[in-house]
Subunit: 331 residues, 2 copies
């Protein structure tokens, strides 16, 4: 591999001059021409490790979240990737963490300087994670609910508003006995959705009991399917909100199998509005939490912060939007 020294020799100038033409500092036309020719000739590419060592920047941004099987995170990743693609930064991906310990281990590794910034969307609320993030010497953008006592750039969706949208819509179409199929409450989204759901029911003076919340083991289709196996229980409700679209897909499958009609017997609403929602039969009404947009915003916050390290931290709220389809309003 050609080094900057080889280029300098070939062009008959000093390595400083080569460095300067590469980095766009002033150079005489003649010098620049010769250097560029030499670069061409030798197929020279600046070594990124050497550069990173000297300027203390890796030109890499790390994106961390729990699992790529969730399409909402895929959307987020796309948003981040897209926003980064027009910058000089590369995207490095850390996902598929199966435990808090793994996340912690990963965060500890951040001190090695292989990334200039961290965009993280932690699904588990754990004090260790919060502490580590706050100790990080690098810019952090947090996607999701901000834990207490952290002051970093943040983009989050007003998910209570999302639940409100869903419930208002259900009330509008005359439903009163509403259940929530929730994901694990050990997770941030699980906790928040539960709280928002209870609050919204109370606000609207609707019946609420512990039975109104059915816990699924995970945010997956399978888990949704398994959460509602008790038909009699299920028939007590005339509407169901699911904590995400995949849970809703599982519930829908169960309903189809058991000849419970959607929406006439039970109306069904998902959350996330992933592509799946428009492909199910009936198509699924869903609260769009704008994951891709959040990813974009997060990446832009990061780029902005990197360009401007001392600005105060920003918190950006994204508004959800309800996409009404056949699972609540037959077409």
């Amino acid at each position: 591999m050609a080094t900057i020294g080889a280029v300098a020799k070939q062009a008959g100038v000093s390595i400083a001059s080569v460095s300067r033409v590469i980095n766009g500092t002033a150079a005489r036309a003649d010098t620049e021409r010769r250097v560029r020719a030499a670069i061409q000739d030798l197929g020279y590419q600046p070594n990124s490790a050497a550069r990173a060592l000297k300027v203390r920047q890796s030109e890499q941004i790390c994106l961390s979240f729990d699992d790529l099987s969730n399409p909402a995170y895929v959307l987020m990743t796309r948003g981040v990737g897209q926003a980064l693609s027009s910058s000089k930064y590369r995207l490095i991906l850390s996902s598929a963490f199966s435990s808090v310990e793994e996340i912690v281990k990963h965060l500890e590794t951040m001190g090695r300087g292989f990334a200039d910034g961290l965009i993280i969307s932690p699904i588990y609320a754990d004090a260790r994670i919060t502490t580590l993030i706050s100790q990080l010497k690098m810019p952090v953008v947090l996607v999701g609910t901000m834990p207490e006592g952290l002051d970093v750039d943040n983009v989050y969706v007003n998910s209570a508003a999302g639940v409100d949208l869903a419930i208002d819509h259900l009330i509008e179409i005359g439903r009163k006995r509403i259940a929530l199929i929730n994901g694990p409450v050990t997770t941030n989204p699980g906790r928040r959705r539960k709280a928002a759901f209870e609050k919204a029911l109370k606000k609207n003076k609707l019946a609420f009991s512990d039975a109104s919340i059915i816990q699924a083991d995970a945010f997956s289709t399978q888990a949704g399917f398994e959460a509602v196996t008790n038909i009699k229980e299920l028939k007590k409700f005339d509407a169901i909100i699911c904590a995400n679209d995949q849970l809703a897909a599982g519930v829908m499958k169960f309903c189809v199998d058991n000849e419970i009609d959607i929406p006439s017997d039970i109306a069904l609403i998902g959350i996330d509005n992933i592509e799946l929602a428009s492909l199910l039969r009936p198509t699924l009404t869903s609260v769009d939490l704008r994951a891709e947009e959040r990813g974009q915003i997060a990446a832009n916050l990061m780029l902005n912060r990197l360009a401007n390290p001392d600005r105060p931290s920003k918190q950006i709220e994204v508004q959800p939007r309800l996409v009404i389809r056949q699972s609540t309003v037959a077409s």
Copy 2:
């Protein structure tokens, strides 16, 4: 940030000794203890750029493909990520290339040494890409059909066998007028599926004309939907194979809208067997191309090659498998 020098001073040894205990070379028990204590004390983390510069390894592997919107690539990414997670290598992701030029630009950038290896799954067959790959100084694993004149590690799926599986199954259930809804033939998968389809029809002495292949603009649901707008044309067939599951989802949507029954009027088979296939109504028979597994294999080939740079290149063929669901056999 603490450097190795600070650790050495704190421990009262030379930096060489610190480096050695970090990298596991022999050291006296006493030395090791003191160094470890100092590392703890100072929260020292070795700087990855400095290390990369010295040892000429970045401990990063780059995964490149066209677009993360395709769930098959998400699966592949998961497979790669999983295989890499137990290694020392980090995953860096390059996707969302909109043109061959962008891929070329990206490949040219590889010389900077920010990655130790490249796993690439190019959707477009372009001579420039092939040339650049063959000139790369780093290990490459190619996922997909190997272009002429390239000799690198490779994992590919026997997609002709996949089409055969589909056609055999259709014949078995008595279908004879079979169409292919294909993706763009400017892509590798598009080309291969077309060829495999024609060959399989001939082999089975089934009717084939140019009309048997309907071209969609993309590998998306929308494109599938739009490809079949001519009902009369469509009704000439009693079975349709789609080049991927999303195309099939689009076709299915069209059929439902137009009261064409699946499978009695038309049997439908997708390719890829993404999660969607089991969630559609009717559920979609699909040829599983084992994307996640290919990702894993690719990553393992890479790790193996990195550990063993001089071994001859390996080509691994993955066998597809047919997953029969309601879109061909009513339940």
